[in-house]
Structure formats: C-alpha cells, structure tokens
Symmetry: C5
Subunit: 307 residues, 5 copies
C-alpha cells in the first residue's frame, strides 16, 4: 500500500507546481517522507533547506506526516503570495498618495513609472492567486482526490485514535485545504480592492489635472482680456503718436485727457469683460434637481425579525 503512494500523490502535484514568478516545486508525499523531485527558484531552495526540514521534524503537531508536509507546503505558498502583496501594497499606496495630492500641478513622471511597474506586479500576483485558488478548488470539488490525499488513514491505528474528535481524515483534509483556500481568497480580495483603488485614484488624478488646467485657463483668459483692452486703447495713443497734424498739439489739457481716457477706458473695458466672463461661466438659474437626488437610504429596521 505504501509502495503505491507515489502514484496516489500525483494529484498533489498540481497545487505545488504553479510557476510562482519563477518558483516551482514538484514533490511526492509518502506517509514517511517527502521526496522533492524538482524545484526552481532561489527563495525556494533556502526555504527547503533551512525551514522545511525543521518544521517537519518537530512533532508538536499530532497530525499524520502527510498532513504536516502538505500544510507546510501550502503555508509556504500562501506566505509567498502574501509577502509579494505586502511588498507591492505600501509602494502603491505611497505612490498613489503623492500622485493624488491636489497641490501638484502635474503628475510626477517617475512616480507614474513606479505605479505602472507595481500595477504590473499586482496583476501578475492576481493571476498567481487565481491559479492557486483554482487548483485548490479543483481538489476540494472532487471527493475522491481528497480521499486519496489521506494516506495514513487505514495503516496507522494510532492516528485513528487521535481523530476521535468526531471528524474523519477526509474532513480534516477538507478543513485544511479550505483554510488555505480562504486565505488565498482574502489575498485575492485585497488585490482586487487595490486595483480598484488604483482606478479610482487615476480618475481623481485626471479630475485634478483638468481642474488645474481650467483654473489656469481662466487666469489666462482674464489676462488676455486685460491685454486686449490695453491694445484697444493703446491704439488711440499710437494714433496720436503719428507724425500727422491733429490740431490738438498745442492744447496742454488734451494730453491729460487722452492719457486718462486710455487708462480709464482700458480699465473699464477690462472690468466689463471680466464680469461678462463671470456671467458666462456661471448660469444664473439654479439646477432644480438636487432635492430629488437625496433619497434617504431605506431603514433596515423594517426588515428585521424572523418574518
């Protein structure tokens, strides 16, 4: 029975075989030992040598060996995913926070590059989490694979005795796998929320940039109005500057009259234009819609009680 364990273990390979950004592990679990057939990835090697051996040797946990081996591998897998998320999460939050900052007129391009790279890592992480979840789900959905994963079931009476809690080994295995499935699910939720946050922030960045532009454009327009009025009345000065006879040359009051008219006139025209701009941009009639919008939330009280 023990001899044919390696074949039985083939279903365990899918879940420890995903390419986790270059990492992969292919192992055979027997009731006595864990044969690592093939692995790739630097972090994985160190983990195998330094941590896994100790973890499997310690008998603090009274579960059968294959449970502990599987748990160690799954735990390492989830931890790897979690640590990748932990790496990416604060960087993205920091970058978004500095990009969303309303004081900035233009987005910092190096920050944008960092954001782009991290959202690339994030979508790779999302794919890996989904692949992990799918392979877990596939095992959870087929009862027989679950049965086959419990190798020590019949052979070791000591184990059966310990399981006198009322749960047999297939259920124990299901709870073990479900536990890691739910951890992966939670990681997936965090990833999705982070993606949503990036999208929302990008909208806010766009609105910020557009708002800045509108504000600058209004200032620009106001100055263009000023320049226009100065040009208009400056034309009068230019006219009097021509070497042509206007018959006013000798009257000293005309100088002050024309000069005053030029400055006052351009000032008045400017003011006129500014107030026109103000009226143009703000339609006077109030939008009659807001009261309709604020529909109150349905109160939850009306629905409680067991029918």
């Amino acid at each position: 029975m023990i001899a044919h364990a390696p074949q039985v273990c083939s279903p365990t390979q899918p879940e420890s075989n995903q390419s986790d950004s270059g990492q992969s592990l292919r192992a055979v679990v027997t009731p006595q030992c864990l044969l690592v057939l093939d692995f790739r990835g630097l972090g994985l090697e160190r983990w195998l040598v330094l941590e896994l051996a100790q973890q499997l040797a310690s008998h603090t946990n009274s579960l059968p060996f294959e449970f502990r081996a599987l748990e160690a591998i799954l735990q390492h897998r989830v931890n790897a995913l979690q640590s990748r998320l932990n790496e990416v999460h604060p960087v993205i939050l920091d970058t978004l926070e500095s990009l969303v900052d309303p004081k900035l007129l233009s987005a910092d391009r190096t920050k944008l590059h960092i954001l782009l790279q991290n959202s690339k890592s994030l979508s790779e992480l999302e794919t890996d989490i989904r692949v992990f979840k799918d392979s877990m789900l596939k095992i959870l959905d087929e009862e027989e694979i679950m049965e086959e994963l419990c190798l020590t079931k019949w052979t070791d009476p000591r184990v059966f005795e310990e399981s006198s809690l009322g749960i047999d080994h297939a259920e124990e295995m299901e709870l073990l796998l479900e536990n890691y499935y739910m951890q992966a699910e939670e990681l997936g939720n965090d990833t999705r929320e982070l993606k949503g946050l990036i999208d929302d922030s990008e909208s806010v960045i766009f609105i910020n940039l557009d708002s800045h532009r509108n504000v600058m454009m209004r200032l620009n327009l106001q100055l263009t109005m000023g320049t226009f009025s100065l040009s208009l009345f400056g034309l009068m000065g230019v006219a009097f500057g021509m070497n042509l006879e206007s018959s006013f040359e000798e009257d000293p009051r005309v100088f002050w009259l024309v000069t005053g008219f030029m400055f006052l006139g351009s000032g008045l025209i400017w003011r006129r234009l500014l107030s026109f701009l103000g009226r143009h941009l703000e339609p006077s009639f109030p939008p009659p819609i807001p009261p309709v919008w604020k529909r109150n939330l349905k109160t939850p009280d009306a629905k409680t009680g067991l029918r």
Copy 2:
C-alpha cells in the same frame, strides 16, 4: 448528544468569523448557551455586553435557543454592514452633488479627496458583503450543514410541538438564513448602484470640465482675434509714428483718415474673423441621422396573455 454540540457548531464559525473592518467573532452555540470563544473590535464588545445578553434572555420568541442566538449574530452582522453603508451613502451623494454642480469651473480638491476615501470604504464594504453572502450561500447549498445547525431538533419535544405549522426545523433554518442572505443581497445591490453612480458622475464631471474649457477657449480665441486685428492696424499707426518723411504731415485730414481707418479696419477684420470662427465650428449641413435613432420601444401589449 449535547456534549458533541461544540463540534457540530464548527460550521457556524465561518459566517461569524469574517474580518469586518477589524471586527471578528468566533463562537460556539449549544442548545443551552452561547460560548463566545474569541472576538475583536470595539463596537462588538459593547454589543456583546449590552445588547446580546438581553436579546437572548427575553423569551418573546418561541424558537429554540440556537435559532435565536444565530439570528442575533446574523442580525448584528447585517446591521453592521447596513450602518457602514448608511454612513458612506449620504457622504458620497453630497460630495457627488457638489462636484457635479455645473456652475463650478474646477473640481474642489478636498471634495475629491473625500470622494476617494469614501469610494475606498465602499469597495471594502462591497468585499465584506460579498464574503458574507458567499459564506451564507455555502451553508445554504449544503443540506447536511443545515441539518447539523438545528441542534434541538430531536431532544426537545416542546419545540417539535411548536413547529406544527408544517415546516420542519431544517426548513425553518433555511428560511432564517435565506432572509439574511436576501438582506445582504439588497445591500450588495445598493453598493453596486452607488458605485455605478460614482462612475456616471465622474463622466459628467469630465464633460463639465471639458465644456467649461471649450467655452473659455472660444472666448480666448475671440479675444486673440481682436488683439490680432488691433496689432495689424496698429502697425499702420506705428508706421506713421516713425521719424520719417511721409509727405502727409501737413494735411490735417490725413490724421482723421488714418485714425478712422485704423479703428474701423480692426473692427471689420475682427468681425470677419469672428464670423469665420462661427462658420468653422458649426458645420452647416444638418446631420441626417436623428430620425433613424428614435426607434420606438417595443410595445409590451403584443406579448401578454398566457398564449
């Protein structure tokens, strides 16, 4: 039988164990008491001490104890989700309403920050609601878990008597869970609608900002046209202002001629440019498409009747 109730209760943990923005509860329900194993979160503590005890002590409801305990926990859970939605909903509506306001030239950045934070809370809430719904659905899908949740079924004849309405306890439990599932479903619908409203409003904000910009740009362009015509005819004045001999110096009518030409000319050129702009922006041919668009809605009358 009562002794092994704690094991039976393990399936109830998933639904009271979600991390609800820091809150979590792990409890064991027996037919006689509710053992709270572990909990986290401030609001939860106050609720456990102040409200849950009273609610469970009052015997207004004739259902078995574990029903009432489960109902109290689920009710508290749904209420917590609902109150988080109630908190976020009016803030988002207010913020959107002030951002969408067509009178504003630029979006208020503090409002944007508030919106961003609240849409972050909203997506966290959405995740929690989905997790809650998923764990409810998982229990609802497996008949046997439902059976196990009804602890008092066989032990208490008084209970059986009360259930003479024709519904056995598993169905009663199903209705109880379904009730809360549907409340969560409704919360999820409200959340999704709110998200959709945020998206739609952002499009409207963008169109508003773009419209404002176009209006300002047209004004700017019109003034630039004016400045251009003034510069063009001002050049004439500058020419006559040169200290060069033009042979017109002595004729007093030339001054008025040239001055009038300058002002009239720039006015005419400006008007020309403005009408050119008007024609340029508004293509004269009418778009021949509208009539096709207004296809009437199919009338529902033709489809009624039970064949």
Copy 3:
C-alpha cells in the same frame, strides 16, 4: 387540503415581495381567493382596487384561479418594469441625441444633469429587473416549488379535464413563469443596450469636445503666429519712431520702403510659420498599415450544410 394552502403559498411571496421603487406586495393565493396581506406604493393601491378585481372576476380564461391570480400579479409586475423603461428610454435618447450633436461646442449642463438622473433611474431599474429575474429563476430551478404552486391539481376534476392538451399543470405553470422570465430577460437586454449606448455616446461626446478644442487651438496658434510676426516687424517701426537720429529722416522714399518692408515682412513670416505648422502637424509619410487591416469577413458559405 385547502386549509394548508396558506403555508404552501409562502414560496410565492418572494416574487411578489421585491421593493419595486417603493412598491411591494405580500399576498396569499388559495384556490378560491387572493388574500392581500400587505402592500405599499400608490400605483399599487389603485391597481389592486380598480383592475385586479375585475381581471380575476372575468372567467374568460378557463385556467384555475391561482393561475390567473399569479398571472395577473406577474403581468402587473412586468408591466410596471416596462413602463419605467418606457419612461426613461425616450428621455435618454433625446438627451443623448442633443448632447452628441457635433455642432455644439460645449455640452449643455442641464442636459447632463438630466442624463445623470436618468442613468441613475436606469441602473435602479436594472437592479429591479435582475432581482425579478433571479427570483423567477429560483422557482423555475426547483421542481417541487413548482408542484406546490399548482394548488387545484388534485381537487378539481373539471380542471384536469381541461388540461387534456397533453400538458400537466406543473408544465403549464412552468410555461407561465418562463413566459414572464423571458419578458424580463428582454427588458434586461434593452436596459443593457441603453447603458451601452450611453457609454458609447459619452466617448463620442469626449471626442467631439476634444476635436473642437483642437480646431480652436489651431486657429489660436495661427493668430498667435500672425501677432508674433506683426510684433517682430512692428519693432522696426518702433525703432524708427524713437527720437534718435537715424540719418534717413529727410529721404521721402525711406518711409515707404520701411512701411512696405514691415507689412510685407510680417506677411511673409506669417505665411512661413503657417506652412511650417501645416508640415508639423501632418507627417508626410503615409501610414503603410491600412491594407493589412481590411481583412475580409469570413464568408459563411463555407460552413453551411449538415456535414
């Protein structure tokens, strides 16, 4: 048997219990009468009093009473959804049509507000349709609920006689429900198409506004070029206008020379700048890609025939 009908009817409540923008109905159907337990909503009241009674009283339809009652309720429900869509649909089409109009330089903000409100109503309607469809689907998926809905099956021999078409009552009920399910499905399709149309139109509005802005910007740039050339050559006139001795003062030809040079020069420079702009914006090399794109549609002829 008739006595326990009220319990049997509890499964019918889900589908008549949805909050339809404030409307809700909770009723019990027996083979002889329809007990309205609870309802909310103004339109609903009028419908109950004025139409439902007459509809149920008329015996034109030979089906059992509970069929007719259920059909009347479902029909009213679908009609309500349809009439809400009919209300929203033409408004949205009109608003979009006037917003998409390429002649407009800026989007009308009141139209935007109307659009925003209506797309809010539309997504509420979408939610209600989905809820209706889900509850119908739930009943359709469970054979036993369908069985229980047919109350008169065994009791009334007259009814059995009429059903001699070869379809028993459960199938009749299934066809009835499926009919309304498909009507709701069609409403859902219309709603989704309308949402897609709003999205597409918003893209077109953005492209329109951007196009207008580009056109205005080019005009602005062309005028700025003109103003620049006038300033450049006007500087020459200003130079000769200085009260400094240029030794050309006495030569009458110099006036015309310099004036002509000023006007001609600025004209030439402007033309030069305009043609530079033209070349700058339109890259001369033709994009060599189009021929690849126009891959012909696969002809359907090659695939027909029953193998």
Copy 4:
C-alpha cells in the same frame, strides 16, 4: 402519434421566435409539413415564398423532413445574423481607419456619428446573437426536448435504415444544433473582437488628439516666448519714442546701438527661453526602469512532454 406532433413542437418555437430586429417566425413542424403560424418582417416573407419552399422540396438530402425544415430555419437565422454583421463590419473598419489616421488634427464628426450608429447596431446584433445562443443552449442541455424534436424516429423504417452509420437520431439532432450553436458562437466572437477594436481605437484617437494638442501648445508657447521678448525690448523703443529729452537725440550712433540692442536682445532672450523650455520638458535623468520590464516570455519548450 403524428396527431400530437404540434404539441411536441412547441419547444421549437423559442428558437424561431426571437425578435430579430423586427423579424419573428412561429411555426409548427410535423413529419410531413411545415405550418407557418405567424411571421413578421419583410425579408422573411420573401425568403419564405421564394427560397424555403424550393429548399424543402428538393430531396438531395436524405434526412427526415423535420430535420431539413429545422435546418433550413436555423440556417436562415444564422445567415441573417451573419449578413447583419457583414453589413456593419466593413463600415466600422472604414470609419475607424479614417478616424485613427494620425494626420488628422480633429475627428470628423460625421464619421463619429456613423460610428455611433454602427456600434449601436453592433450591440443590438450582439444581444440577438446571445439570445439565439441561449435558446440553442437551453435545448442542447435538456436531453428530452432533443428526443421530442426527432419526430420520425419510430414511424419510418426507411429512415432508421439510413441512420446505420452508428448515430441515432437524437445524436444527429444534437450535432445539427451544435453546428449552428458553434456558428453563432463564432459570430459572437467576431462581434466581441469588433467591440474591442472600437474601444482600442477610441483610446488611440484620444491619444492622437492629445498629442496634437500638446504639439500645438508647445508651438504656441514658443511663439508666446517670442512675443514676450519682443514686447520687453520694444518697451525700450517706446521709451525712446517718448517726447521727452534723453540727451542722446543728436548722436547718430545711438540709433543703431539701441535698434541693434533691441533686436539682438529679444533674439537672445527668446533663445534663452526656448532652451529653458527644452530643459523643463525633458528631465535629464534617464528613467532606470526599462531593463526590468523586458522580461522574456517563458519558453514553451520546458513544459512539453507527456510527463
């Protein structure tokens, strides 16, 4: 047996009953004839009269009559969908190609209108294809409906003889329906790709318009810089043009000095501003990120082999 065929055929109605942009067909198939109960749509009428009769009369195909009738109807349905796609596809490709053209400064609004209309048709087509696929799938999923569709199975020994290929009639029917299901699937794929292409093109159009705007804005900024420097040094000329005594009036070299200073000064300042702009827009430090990005694709060789 033949007498009750019409009832049996009711399941065939769903698939020939969809409103195909106004077309609908309701028919009853018996082993001997095809009764068209109701139809709507112009193209449908011509098809029924001219083509369907001939197609059914010709006995080239040795399959039972109801197979040929069903095949003719489904074939016509798929052809109608395909021809609608064929109509919309080249128009959309042409319109997109002319809109995406990088030489254009602004999007042609009539093209936009055409695009909007066609993408509306496209989403209607998508809905119709999905409805067709759903109804096919519904029949394919239920074995018994499939059985009932084969009317001649037991009655006609000649038919049974022909089916000696090893496939019974239910399988034959399944292959027939699956064939059309897969054709509809392919149409659906084409439609989705076309929608994706529209979305991608819209992004490219936006980037194009934005790029054009940036280029124009840089030109505008460069000219504004020129105008600014001319104004700055023109002020000097204006100062010397004042009728005030500057004590330089008599020196003929001052004229050339000041004039040269004005032109050279504005030229130098302009050059300075332009190089400032160049440095401002192009940050000197190279982005250190690209090498990380170009991660090679995983080579497929390492994964082949049947383990």
Copy 5:
C-alpha cells in the same frame, strides 16, 4: 472494432478544427494510422509533411499510436498559439515602453498604429485561446467521449501491460488533455496580463500628456502675465509718445524717471502676478487625510496554524 473507429473519432474533430488565423485541420485517428481529411494554412502543410511524420514514426514513446497522434496535434496547436503570443509580446512591450517614456511631449503616432494593430492581433489570439480551451473543457467534462478517445484499450494486450502503473487509459488520456488545457490556460493568463498592461499604460500615457500640458500651460500663463505687465506700462510710454504737449518735454530727468518707472513697474507687477499664481494653484491648508490611508496590511501571522 477497428472498423468503427472513424465514427468514434468524430469527437476529436472539434479540437483540431478551429480556424487558427486561417489554419484548420480535420483528421481521423485510428489505432494504426492518422488520416488527414482536410487542412488549410501554409505553416500547417509544412508541419504535416516535415515534422508530424517523423514524430509519429519514432517509437521512443511507448504509448499507443492514437495517444501520440493526438499529442502531436495538440502540441502543434499549443505551440502555434504560443509562437503567436511570442511574436506579439515583445513588440507590444517595446511599443508601450517607448510610448510611456515621460520625456516625450506627444505620443509617436506610428507607434500608436503599431500598438493598435498588435492589440488587435492580441484580441484575436485571446479568442482563439478561449475557443481552444472551451473545446478541451468540453471533452474533459464528458467521461464517455474520453473513453471513446482511447481506441487501443481492449485490443492490444501489450499496451495494457505497460499501463501497469495503476492508471488506466482513460485517466492517462485525461492527464494528457489536462496538460494541454493548463498550457492553454497559462497562455490565456499571459494574454490577459498583457491586455491589462496595455490599459494601464494608456492611463499613464494620458496622465503624462496631461501633465506636460499643464506644465506648458503654466509657463504660458507666466509669460502672458509678463506680456500683460509690459503692455500696461508700455501704455504709459505710448502716452508720452503722443504728439501732445505734456509740459515735461524740457526736463531731462523726466525721461529717466518715466523709463525707469515703466521697466520697474512692469517687473513688479509681473512678480506680483506670479506670486498670486503660485498661491492660487497651491492651497495652503494641508490635506488632513493621508494618515488615515496608510492602514497597515493585515499581518498573515495571526491566521496560520491548522486551527
């Protein structure tokens, strides 16, 4: 038994029959030979002649013939998809990298065209991968088709002997198909990530273009402010340039006074305007929100352990 193999093989056709950008293959597999019925596509022809024959002739692999034939076809299919992805992937990465480059003021339009074409190829590839996966999944889901695919099961005792590993042929076939399904799944994941990367990059390109525009607009605004102040004080010079008597003509200090006032005044006004702009764009109050945002990631430690 062998005689009826051709019929049995019909289920293998769906997976080798997809139109792979013009390629299609229709073949019948018997235990002794592979009959290629029909094929299309240039690359396919060369592969059939040059590689497939050799691959099938070599007996390195001890599996039955139909396994090797199926594996060769599937392998070629997956390789074709992979090579299409390998072709498109680096081009898209290169194009995106050069488009995302923050130094560029405007997007290179030829790059945009290349990107558009490649994303079109990418979505076609995505469709083909999905179709391949669907047809694999369809076979994997139906046990009986799998059984029928194993032709040599009963006939050849030599084969049965070799399969003494404990896996029967249906399982072997399942592993074979699953292997290729998972390879296609991975291709699909890569495709989706690439699509996501294109979307993210487009957002970054838009933000980049917008940022550039804002920076240029601020520069433009600053220069417009300068031009405005020069015009304002130039008006004074123009006033003194008029041929009117101002009674200051004889005082030599007035020239320097007015000239100095003009230059200093415009400088001061400009500085004033610039500082106003600075204050206008940067609201002084610090946004009080950031600390709330940086919620720490939940630590994974608290959740480990087998309950």
